[in-house]
Amino acid sequence: MSTASDVERVPEIFRHLAEEGQVASLRDRNGVYEFDIAEGGGKWYLNLDHGTPKLAETAAHPNVVITCSPADFVAMSEGSQNVVTAFLQGRITCTGDLAFALDVRRLFPVPA
């Protein structure tokens, strides 16, 4: 169950993702993620340009739409929830390109 704190952290996590620069292992990937963070987390568009994520205001044709709760999103960003098993469990919904969706795991920081 998400807390108010989780919801509040969502924008900060996206801003952080967009400031990280190019992710080497995604250097040949281009496309747009649409994140629908439930429970008031909002819609977010992340444009991946040769592995460099940038936030966008909107996107007409995202490659994939990923839906999850604020709590799961925070947990993935902290590394306490494995992205692949979150997909398999159905904690995350994916509509579109699954391979591209699974690349999201490369965006999150490596847990300690």
């Binding site: 080497a24 292992s25 250097r27 040949d28 494995n82 692949v84 098993t85 997909f87 398999l88 469990q89 159905g90 904690r91 995350i92 919904t93 994916c94 509509t95 390109d97 699954l98 391979a99 591209f100 699974l102 690349d103 490369r106 490596v110 847990p111």
Partner: protein
């Protein structure tokens, strides 16, 4: 597959049924419709007026479609039937089944046809366990559709069943009350579709893949082979067709088809299996290697994760999608417990580039290749002794993380087990080869002479160190491994053949390796045993303790070829290709290590999958070895040394950096085993196909 079951597949979806098309899963007969490592149907039984029809014949010649020809059962003895039933099943994401019932009599017929359906949604790893499910099973009927479902929290899997003909839908299946006029027929199409709940949406009733057309194109794209010894072409074609069946398009990667490990249970991404199969098939269907490299690069490890045995730069062992993986009761998301897949990744990358002339892929995968080379240097050697070793971090991991992955494969000559962590010899050979090849790529393609020099020096140092530490002077052989106590594991095994392949063996020791490989202790007459007869752990029917593995032998033959032992390579090729004839051209994963003179035929070892990917690839690498095919400066060098019984061999349109080229050879090598003889035909039935192990990987 066993004689009692029929398997068809498309991607990672497959159906295992009895020869009448029915599915009735039990702990001993793990039948069902499987997809994404989950059983979506565990019961699918057709009855006519309450009786199960008798099987006339089954056409399972295509791997993606099958037909069952049935007549109604009388319940007592056979009488002339005037009804015939044809079930035609094609697998997609789920399957579709056309049922046709013909009334061959002059009278109208009325009957009740029932399809009983149920699903237990067992994880592939638990099909032989009677584990209670942790979630809830449910069945619903709505709008002429039966839904079988399973829910555990947000984990949801469903099976949808619909029919084109009118039916009575109930929670346990669907019933057709039909009347067929004389010499007429009734038919319906039943669709069984699967849903992964919230994981991914898929188009309902999407187009079925055109596998027949695809297979034709696949075969046309490969070189053609003719031989005076007719079975050679048959074995070659069988290998190509089986490789086509084993191609796997994972939704989790988009790099194209790569070879899965085995049909049907191991239709998933495996590091070691996919790499070795791609290497074997490289001269004939090089695209497999490309897809394999790209997919494995995409899943390369990035972090230290003890549960998954993941480390930065490490190439995965196996990726799975089932419930146990989802809830982290199994580590396959993905699991990285293979100590050899990372150096083998480098080996395949270099070999693919040299064979095809594709330098761009080496540039494209530079980041991943450097990370893999770094893993070899930094992470692979856990105890700092200069050798790659392995020890699972958690009990859910694999005990042995080399290709001989059964728990007792690394034994001392007295039969006692070694302790972890283990550094097996062939992995050091792969690491040597990876450094040598990495140096070439660094110098010629990445234009990084410093890295190239560093890798070359590291390779030389490893070779010196290895030949000092692993050599057993008292046995004149390399140790199988160095164990956790620093002891040299002194059994004589087939692993020394892999050392020849890697090039880590100095010339002055290569002859001794070849002598041992061809000795009566190791060579059974059909092939080289995994462990030599006379060793304490030797067992001709022990999984890695004396059986003969065709893929192992293909690597050995290639290693012998590398050092110029062409007669020995030809002898092994002759033995393995002759063995293939006893299995209708399809080599099994392994067969017993009994002496050839004793059994006269190769005794198959019961294994989980058929075809098995690297057994399928074995004849291809054997062909490369005896034809002496090697890419040299963008040209194909052919130096055939064939067994005399092979007569002549012609391979046309071999793809590579040269475009297309042909290879010819004539048998000149005397081999002192039974000459290649086309009259040696027959069929050896395996025992029942085993279900997959419940442990990670394949071994149990």
């Amino acid at each position: 597959m066993s004689g009692r079951t029929v398997s068809i597949l498309e991607g990672n979806t497959f159906v295992v049924s009895d020869r009448g098309g029915n599915i009735n899963a039990t702990l001993t007969d793990p039948e069902g419709l499987f997809a994404w490592d989950t059983r979506f149907l565990s019961k699918w039984i057709l009855t006519v007026d309450g009786l199960t029809p008798n099987v006339l014949s089954t056409d399972d010649l295509r791997y993606y479609e099958t037909q069952f020809f049935l007549v109604p059962g009388t319940g007592t003895i056979y009488v002339d039937a005037d009804l015939s039933i044809i079930r035609t099943r094609a697998v997609g994401e789920g399957f579709s089944e056309d049922i046709v019932i013909r009334n061959e009599s002059n009278e109208p017929k009325e009957m009740k046809v029932k399809l009983e359906a149920a699903a237990d949604f067992a994880d592939l790893f638990e099909v032989k366990d009677a584990q209670p499910k942790k979630g809830q099973l449910y069945q619903t009927v709505k709008d002429s559709r039966l839904t079988l479902g399973y829910k555990r929290g947000t984990f949801n899997r469903e099976t949808f069943i619909t029919s084109t003909a009118s039916a009575l839908f109930e929670k346990d299946g669907l019933t057709f009350n039909i009347r067929i006029e004389p010499h007429s027929e009734w038919k319906t199409r039943v669709d069984v579709e699967i849903s992964l709940g919230r994981l991914i949406e898929r188009p309902v009733n999407g187009d079925r893949p055109q596998r027949g057309k695809d297979l034709t194109q696949w075969l046309k794209g490969a070189p053609s082979l003719r031989s005076e010894w007719e079975p050679m072409a048959r074995i070659y074609t069988k290998s190509l067709v089986d490789l086509a069946a084993l191609r796997f398009r994972a939704r989790a990667v988009d790099e194209g088809a790569l070879p899965a490990a085995g049909l049907p249970w191991f239709m998933s991404i495996f590091g070691r299996d996919s790499i070795l199969t791609s290497f074997q098939a490289l001269p004939f269907v090089p695209d497999l290697a490309r897809s394999t490299l790209q997919a494995l690069a995409r899943w390369q490890g990035t972090r230290v994760d003890p549960f998954r045995d993941e480390e930065p730069g490490k190439i995965l062992h196996e990726l799975r999608y089932g419930e146990l993986t989802a809830f982290e009761e199994r580590p396959h998301s993905p699991y990285y417990g293979a100590a050899d897949s990372t150096p083998l990744f480098i080996v395949l990358l270099d070999e693919y580039s040299r064979w095809t002339g594709d330098r761009q892929i080496v540039r494209d995968l530079e980041v991943e290749a450097r990370a893999a080379l770094n893993w070899i240097e930094q992470y692979g050697d856990h105890n700092g002794d200069g050798y790659i070793d392995y020890k699972r971090a958690m009990d859910t991991g694999l005990d042995n993380q080399c290709w001989k992955d059964s728990w007792n494969s690394i034994l001392f000559a007295d039969g006692t087990n070694s302790i972890l962590p283990r550094s097996t010899c062939e992995i050091q050979g792969y690491a040597y080869d990876a450094r040598v090849r990495g140096a070439r790529m660094a110098r010629e393609i990445w234009h990084d002479p410093d890295l190239a020099s560093s890798l070359e020096q590291s390779a030389i140092a490893l070779k010196d160190r290895f030949n000092r530490d692993f050599w057993l002077p008292e046995r004149g052989c390399y140790a199988l491994a160095i164990d956790g106590n620093g002891r040299r594991v002194d059994s004589i095994t087939s692993n020394i053949g892999h050392l020849l392949w890697s090039g880590i063996v100095p010339e002055d020791r290569a002859a001794r390796c070849a002598e041992l490989l061809m000795s009566d202790a190791l060579f059974s007459g059909w092939g080289v045993r995994t462990m030599a007869e006379g060793e304490g752990g030797y067992n001709p029917i022990g999984y890695h303790l004396g059986t003969v593995w065709p893929h192992d032998n293909s690597i050995i033959a290639w290693g012998l070829t590398r050092y110029g032992f062409r007669k020995e390579a030809a002898r092994i090729a002759a033995g393995i290709l002759q063995a293939a004839l006893f299995f209708n051209g399809r080599l099994p994963e392994a067969f017993a290590g009994y002496r050839r003179q004793m059994t006269r035929f190769p005794v198959e070892y019961p294994t989980a999958c058929s075809p098995q990917a690297w057994a399928t690839g074995a004849p291809l690498l054997m062909l490369r070895a005896i034809m002496g095919m090697e890419p040299v400066d963008g040209r194909l060098l052919v130096d055939a040394k064939l067994p005399i019984g092979a007569g002549w061999v012609e391979i046309l349109d071999i793809p590579g950096a040269w475009g297309r080229a042909d290879a010819y050879g004539r048998g000149t090598i005397e081999v002192d085993i039974q000459a290649l003889d086309a009259t040696v035909v027959g069929s050896v039935r395996s025992t029942s196909a085993a279900a997959p192990s419940t442990a990670p990987g394949r071994a149990s």
